[in-house]
């Protein structure tokens, strides 16, 4: 090994919690921590059929790569599922990154689009949603994407749905729910999402739960994953962006703040889930038959307001 390469290998690339890491040490630390999360919280089991929700961004490419690695090692079937919301100059780029990644790593994948399943891309409905109903793009996107992820993963016979949510996402959600006075929503957080189980929902799990965004971007960079920086053009409308920036300012002044928040939450999470757990069956939407908070689910409400057409998956109609 040349002296230059040796120096590069010894150079420190990350520092946190009083420890410094070279490239090799960091990659080992990152993978070990993710696999530990999977095993400690029983996120994936031998008899699962694992669906990995993947947008093509840094978090979902990372969780796709590591979940695939874990599943291959333990001989557990898996596939990638991408929801294309139809956001120009954002999703189109990440979908192409994802296709290339899956091809390079021989990962079976399915892409399901808003355009096909709902009759309209997000770009086509966001203005109407904002102007006529006061709904921010993130609200509409969140409702439809979550519903589509759930329905598509169920239709594709998945028993677990892996998402790339990381420590930053969870800390932001935690704070947002606290500010809004919504502890019930916080009860749904954690490495395993949700409070009650239901045949209507594919259980969601988060292997990157204890990894922060900086670590994940660094992992992508060091592994040479071709992930481009992209930020959703609708993010500026969101409360989440405000909380995200505040948390990052706090982290700069108090290193470990995000870790502290999540660790504190993990202590009370079992109590929260117990408090909000219910033996009551989910209400079923009177229009589409999906689980619903009320008589009509949010997707059907949006369908009526925004004139969406709901299509089921039929042999490749994605």
């Amino acid at each position: 090994m040349s002296q230059e390469i040796a120096q590069q290998e010894e150079r420190l690339v990350y520092k946190a919690h009083g420890k410094a890491y070279t490239k090799a040490q960091f990659l080992h630390y990152y993978e070990r921590k993710v696999f530990k999360t999977i095993t400690k919280y029983n996120l994936i089991q031998k008899d699962d059929n694992v669906c990995i929700a993947t947008s093509g961004g840094k978090d979902s490419i990372t969780v796709l790569y590591l979940t695939a690695k874990y599943c291959k090692k333990h001989d557990i079937p898996f596939f990638a599922l991408c929801i294309d919301e139809g956001i120009a100059h954002y999703r189109d780029h990440t979908v192409e990154d994802l296709k290339a990644f899956c091809t390079a790593h021989t990962i079976p994948h399915t892409i399901v689009s808003f355009k096909v399943r709902f009759g309209a891309a997000l770009d086509e409905i966001r203005e109407k949603a904002m102007q006529e109903y006061g709904k921010k793009p993130c609200t509409v996107c969140g409702i439809l994407r979550r519903a589509l992820l759930n329905r598509a993963s169920r239709e594709l016979k998945a028993t677990k749905l892996v998402t790339g949510h990381n420590m930053d996402d969870e800390a932001q959600s935690l704070l947002m729910n606290l500010v809004l006075g919504n502890m019930r929503h916080n009860a749904s957080l954690g490495p395993v999402t949700g409070i009650n189980t239901s045949k209507h929902f594919t259980p969601r799990v988060k292997p990157l739960y204890f990894m922060n965004e900086k670590e994940t971007r660094l992992y992508c960079l060091l592994k040479g994953f071709a992930v481009h920086f992209t930020e959703c053009p609708n993010i500026s409308h969101s409360f989440r962006a405000v909380v995200r920036d505040s948390l990052n300012d706090l982290e700069l002044q108090h290193e470990g703040a995000k870790n502290g928040l999540i660790n504190a939450f993990m202590e009370i999470m079992p109590l929260l889930k117990e408090k909000y757990r219910s033996d009551k069956q989910f209400t079923i939407c009177t229009r589409c038959g999906e689980a619903s908070a009320g008589a009509v689910c949010n997707v059907c409400r949006l369908q009526e307001e925004l004139d969406l057409k709901i299509e089921e998956i039929h042999n490749g109609n994605t």
């Binding site: 660094l218 960079l221 920086f229 300012d249």
Partner: protein, 64 residues
Amino acid sequence: MEVFIEKEQRTISEQGNCTGAELLKKLGINATTILLVRNGEVILEEEHLDDSDTIQILSVVSGG
């Protein structure tokens, strides 16, 4: 010293002979939101930067 700021998609010229942390502070960039790359290699913010270095400030915040 050429500095590419990924989030803003622009390149600026800055004087070297400073640390990465000093550069970030001057540019008003929060170190927890970026990765610092010097001449193609990831470095810690405390490392020294020279006039001849090519710097990339990569954003770790992405998505929606």
